[in-house]
């Protein structure tokens, strides 16, 4: 049978984001794949060196736009480590609440984009409808729907208004009811199971070697969660365990990655409830945040997609000397050829959709 290279992208309904996947097919079976990034390279690291430290929070929001709050938070943690500033306790709790709500919104975005890839277009409408509830909730303290600029170096921008807890509780109860409905709809659907079970399998040791982190790693059965291992903000005081899933034959397949994200949504709601219950009173911003910083510092956080790490080098001026961003999707996309081989062309949307790509963060 003839072998040929097929280009999927940059304009392709499957590619969430702008990247090019060249697959080598022998008939319908994939024998090799070469992903190509760079269509969204905005040189954030270089222009970040031209802006002051506090101005870069507008750029970090736009790194992964589906999960903007977590990236700004990672940058703010790194900058706080560099400057020697610590956010007050109430700000840490607010950050935790807002981060977990953002994680739920990001996973709902993933669900709304993954299901149409498999042909289940109703899932898009359900995902968008539920995500709107959470975006409206996040708009209350921050003012923005998608890009917030809410987490600042030294705290958060403004306090949660009164009545936020009641609204959040109502929204979360609605989502729990609907998630039960979706689990019934998708998990018991024969077509969904056929497209997801045993597709895109990689083992846990392979995943660790290739640098895969986050839900993609936990769906292979590895209980590694940076909120527990390298804790920050209010997470040390909350009570939770990493959620894991495993595919039927060991390792991680598309179905276990789907179940992982749904289970993480439940876990996030539980964390939000705990944090809102335990929230102390106090200020939301540190007393004084210096403009200048020198030295080097890094901080890593559990982003919705994996391990986000920011490394900052300061030279004593008010602008960073070097800013390096680690994106979890960068290494996952580089490992994609390994778990695409052997499957059919029609499995490509399922596999590349199930790892939850966001190209904004890979192409800094």
């Amino acid at each position: 049978m003839a072998e040929m290279w097929i280009h999927m992208g940059p304009q392709h309904p499957m590619t969430h984001g702008l990247w090019n996947l060249r697959i080598k097919v022998n008939g319908e079976t994939i024998t090799d794949a070469v992903p190509e990034l760079g269509y969204l390279h905005r040189s954030v690291e270089k222009i970040g060196e031209r802006r002051k430290y506090f101005m870069n929070t507008t750029l970090t929001d736009r790194l992964c736009y589906a999960s903007a709050m977590t990236w700004t938070h990672c940058y703010c943690l790194a900058a706080e480590e560099l400057m020697g500033v610590e956010a007050p306790l109430r700000a840490k709790y607010i950050r935790t609440v807002v981060l977990e709500l953002q994680r739920i919104a990001s996973h709902l975005m993933w669900l709304g984009a993954y299901l149409p890839d498999l042909g289940l277009i109703t899932g898009f409408l359900y995902g968008m409808r539920d995500r709107e509830m959470f975006l409206n909730l996040l708009e209350i303290p921050s003012g923005g729907r998608l890009l917030y600029n809410y987490v600042k170096i030294g705290g958060v921008k403004r306090d949660l208004p009164p009545g936020f807890e009641a609204k959040a509780e109502r929204v979360m109860q609605t989502l729990e009811r609907r998630l039960k409905e979706y689990e019934n709809l998708y998990d018991n659907s024969k077509i969904f199971r056929m497209r997801n079970d045993g597709v895109g399998v990689y083992s846990a040791s392979d995943a660790i070697n290739w640098g895969i982190t986050g839900p993609n790693l936990r769906s292979a059965g590895v209980p590694f969660d940076l909120r527990q291992a390298d804790s920050y903000d209010a997470y040390p005081e909350l009570d939770f365990e990493p959620v894991t899933n495993t595919a039927a034959g060991g390792g991680s397949d598309c179905f276990s990655r789907y179940r992982q994200r749904v289970d993480e949504m439940h876990q996030s709601m539980d964390l939000v409830r705990q944090a809102l219950a335990k929230m102390p009173e106090g200020k939301v911003m540190a007393d004084s945040v210096p403009l200048r910083a020198s030295g080097e510092a890094f901080r890593r956080t559990e982003d919705s997609r994996g391990e986000a790490l920011m490394y900052l080098v300061g030279d004593g001026s008010d602008r960073p000397y070097r800013w390096k961003i680690r994106s979890p999707m960068f290494t996952t996309v580089s490992a994609a050829p390994h778990f695409l081989k052997g499957y059919k062309v029609a499995d490509v949307p399922a596999i590349m959709g199930s790892i939850d790509m966001c190209i904004g963060e890979t192409d800094k």
Partner: protein, 213 residues
Amino acid sequence: MSRQQVRGNPRMRKGLGSRTSDPATMMEDPPSGDWLTLRSDQFLNWVDDAVYNIAEKTGIRDVVNRVTRPIFNWGLRYSPWPLHFGIMCCALEMGAAGGPDHDSERMGVVYRSSPRQCDILIVNGPVCEKLRPKLKTLYEQMADPKWVIAMGECAIGGGPYWDSYSVVAGADTFIPVDVYIPGCPVRPEALMHGFLTLQKKIREKEPGYFLRR
């Protein structure tokens, strides 16, 4: 094969289906009046002479346009089909505009995956140097009439990345833009307003389409 060895009737007209491989006879113009066997560029020239120029000169084209323009314009206005193309954050808001909360499908907006089937190209993010030739190719693949919506600050003038070495300063540096929607990111309500503005522009500015070259 030379001309004498052609199968069938040797007096048969030679067009694109001709069996000759002799270059001297391949590109020869067919006898005049032979519109059945013309090449596509010859056919267009024939149409020009026989139909288009006559309709233009006698004014029939204007008369028919006056009747058909409202109808075609109504069709164009209420079925803007954008390309299923998302660059960055504004693409998520474009998706949210298609969701149940702000329903863009009630305006006739149906996202198509192939540029050949689309009317609108929504540029919803910063255009990098690597993407620019691909975006130009997508724009050129779309058939007339087509419009471009520059959605968001990145497409209008580079946005927050105006001082980057790899971001083009706005989509209108290489393709003509019809509607600019400010915002960072553009709220779905603003995108709906952008679609309405485009509809107004189509109503006012699009000429008739009868026999238009």
